[in-house]
Amino acid sequence: MQPSLLSAILFATIVAGTPLIIAAVGELVTEKSGVLNLGTEGIMSMGAVAAFAVTVHTGSPVLGILAGMTAGMAMGLVFAVAALTFMANQVASGLALSIFGVGLSAFIGKPYESQALPSVATWNVPGLHKLPLVGHAFFEHQGLVYFSWALLAAVAWFLYRSRLGLVLRAVGEAPVAAHSVGYNVVRIRYMAVLFGGAMAGVAGAFLSVFHTPLWVEGMVAGRGWIALALVVFATWRPARVMVGAYLFGGCMITQMFVQGSGMHLNIPSQFLSALPYAATIIVLVIISHNKATIRLNSPASLGQPFSPEA
């Protein structure tokens, strides 16, 4: 393979993995607090359409991101009120949110379907982007790609080094104990859900404003579900979420390249399309199969409602 081709595949892999990382890290924080929000697909759709609309009207991608984030938080709030305040079933509320978000975004997005945005310029890391092979692949990206790396580092630090992160994990592990040690479980879970919503919104904004700067109904195309699966198969660990996201992105790009290149392979195209999903799950299951680490990292109260008055 020529160096330029490899570099192009790496570049595309990172771009494809970025929305997954952002959404999955948000969901990871939510789930670490013990809340299972299955609404990611819907939240990403709403984030995407809100970001696109605002960018169309203002011309500012930054305002677009903020709009996506706000829309995501609003969706998160709806979920939180249902699941945390009224203690509705989390699985059902999340699924409803997904269906609702996908549908509503299609409705809101109708007037924007034929419009396109200019693509957002990349920001090249001075010096580094000139490196052979990796320079283009890693250091000539749009801002949100760097943001996803910072987000990963920040969340890993937050969870394992900061006091609030410890509290968050404690709440997800044993809400009753956390309550009796004096923490406001419901408030902490609200914050975690809002953060997860905000990140899913940003991930949506990345898709519609940065990745492919246009709005098409259903453009999130299952990435919300992939993000959810990544969190579980990565056993709630940020670094593994990243591995999974890039692995998925890489397989996706490679199989698209293979299919598009007109190479004559005796493999059905359906099999190639399914490959990224299968490969990601298999690899993550293999690296995370240790029972003890699963027990240590999975939030024990996931999906269970909590009420302070026991």
Binding site: L166, R169, E173, A174, V181, E309
Partner: protein, 518 residues
């Protein structure tokens, strides 16, 4: 000592009531505690002691009544509020986070910047000073209940509370640790800390507490000064009658080996756990064998290996009723006629959110409760009802959730469930944990009856008194090794105490059993 009456009481409770759908847990309770006072709250299982403490700590809210904190009326909103006021509590059912380390668990309860290294040092310092050894780096889920109890106490002491609530803090502590804890508590009281102390161990109450309030069926039925009472008179105050006495019957003939452990060696998965080394033990039909030892010396690992929760690699290491069972899981061992009572009652012994009937089904379904793969609810309910009646479990009936039971009542239920299955082999850990004196002697009597009927009983306990009361033979576990066994009648508390530090004669090459001060 209780201070002059002119002083403002630290806490006054007036007419507090708490009504649950099935039971009145607290009925018009009054209680006053002065600065520097150590007050015992006494009562049978289900008398409402824990409920009252949870009300003071803001975990539950009273339906009626008033609370005065240092003279001014307060409504304790939640535990956070209670802690702001200066109230600390050690819960009967621990409130620890299993996947976090000891240091992290403590950090969650002390305000300020997160400095785990510094905190670990403080924990080590305090645990040394108070005689409550714990390793701050260990994960809580790998700790025994005795160690967990130490963590709870240390965490609470580090908060410097002005009112300290201890709900059965010593139920699984060793006598030495209890002595140290009492020194600490007396020291705290002399500095003006008020202490509310709940325990079923009446000799402890007599030794430690200045005053006592007795609860029965949710009502205050009396007060006393423990130093002027004997454990016997206090027991009478509590249960309203005298304690039953024991009856040791003789077992039937035909004493075959029912449980044989032969050269069992297990490496603990937990890096801080204890490895079992060459453990051998036989329990015959019609005898009760006790395993004494300080918690955290391999009891947990041994129990897991015996029960089948953690099958061992060689099937010949464990024989149940003559069948090599080392590699069988818990369910297959139960099918051979073995029953267990694990030490953690919520989570291992019972599923908190399931009803008592469902909890019966989990272990006793072989007693004709399942036919053609279908559950016969009636059989299960009858079994649960029998257990509730025979073991005098106070609850709202067989349909109540396991977690709604008071600690001692749940323990009675779990022990009863296993005993009523008339097992061939019964293995129990801390069988009378948190059970009141009346019920504890009832459970012991039931174990003696089982022995008479020919069951092989193995009891793992930290309570030497209990072991000496019911066991035929004793062995001691220390650092994952088992001492030779001794007939209970031929040994004494001192000798077993020495053995508990791992110094038994067999540990040396010497063949003869040296006298105990060797």
């Amino acid at each position: 000592m209780p201070n002059a009456p002119s002083e403002t009481p630290r806490l006054v409770i007036k007419g507090v009531s708490k009504i649950y759908p099935s039971v009145i847990a607290n009925d018009n309770v009054d209680l006053t505690i002065m600065p520097g006072e150590i007050r015992a709250v006494l009562g049978e299982n289900g008398a409402g002691k824990s409920t009252l403490m949870k009300i003071i700590y803001g975990v539950t809210h009273p339906d009626k009544g008033e609370i005065l904190w240092e003279g001014s009326p307060v409504t304790v909103q939640n535990p956070a509020h209670a802690r702001e006021l200066g109230i600390g509590m050690v819960f009967q059912h621990f409130s620890l986070f299993e996947t976090l380390t000891v240091a992290q668990n403590v950090a969650l309860a002390v305000p300020g910047r997160l400095d785990l290294a510094g905190l670990s040092r403080r924990i080590e310092e305090i645990s040394g000073k108070y005689g409550l050894p714990v390793d701050p780096r260990r994960l809580v889920h790998a700790l025994s209940v005795g160690e967990r109890q130490r963590v709870e106490i240390i965490r609470c002491l580090l908060q410097n509370p002005r009112l300290l609530i201890l709900d059965e803090p010593t139920s699984v502590l060793t006598p030495q640790a209890v002595r140290k804890l009492f020194e600490t508590l007396r020291q705290l009281a002399s500095e003006g800390v008020s202490i509310l102390y709940i325990s079923h161990k009446l000799d402890e109450i007599q030794e430690l507490c200045h005053t006592a309030t007795v609860l029965r069926n949710g009502r205050v039925t009396g007060h006393c000064t423990p130093s002027q009472e004997t454990p016997k008179t206090m027991a009478r105050l509590m249960i309203g009658e005298d304690l039953p006495t024991f009856h040791h019957g003789e077992p039937e003939e035909g004493r075959e080996v029912r449980l044989r452990i032969d050269g069992l060696s297990v490496k603990s998965e937990d890096p801080f756990g204890v490895d079992l080394e060459d453990v051998s033990l036989e329990v015959r039909s019609g005898e009760i064998v006790g395993i004494a030892g300080v918690s955290g010396n391999g009891q947990q690992e041994l129990l897991r290996a015996i029960s089948g929760e953690e099958p061992v690699p060689d099937k010949r290491w464990i024989h149940v009723c003559g069948v090599p069972a080392g590699r069988m899981n818990a369910s297959r061992r139960r099918a051979l006629g073995m029953c267990f009572v694990p030490e953690e009652r919520l989570g291992r012994g019972a599923v908190p959110r399931l009803s008592l009937t469902d909890n019966v089904l989990l272990t006793a379904f072989r007693r004709k409760m399942v036919r053609f793969g279908m559950i016969r609810r009636k059989a299960a309910k009858t079994f649960a009802d029998d257990c509730i009646r025979l073991f005098d479990v106070k609850c709202g009936g067989a349909a109540s959730e396991a977690k709604s039971l008071s600690g001692g009542n749940l323990q009675k239920f779990i022990v009863g469930r296993e005993i009523l299955q008339e097992p061939k082999v019964l293995v129990l850990a801390q069988p009378t944990w948190g059970v009141d004196v009346g019920a504890a002697s009832f459970i012991r009597q039931q174990l003696l009856c089982l022995r008479e009927k020919g069951t092989a009983v193995l009891v793992i306990s930290e309570e030497l008194d209990e072991l000496f009361e019911i066991c035929d033979r004793l062995v001691v576990i220390a650092k994952g090794r088992l001492s030779p066994s001794k007939a209970t009648s031929e040994t004494g508390v001192e000798e077993v105490g020495v053995w508990m530090s791992g110094m038994w004669p067999g540990a040396e090459p010497a063949k003869d059993e040296a006298p105990h001060v060797a």
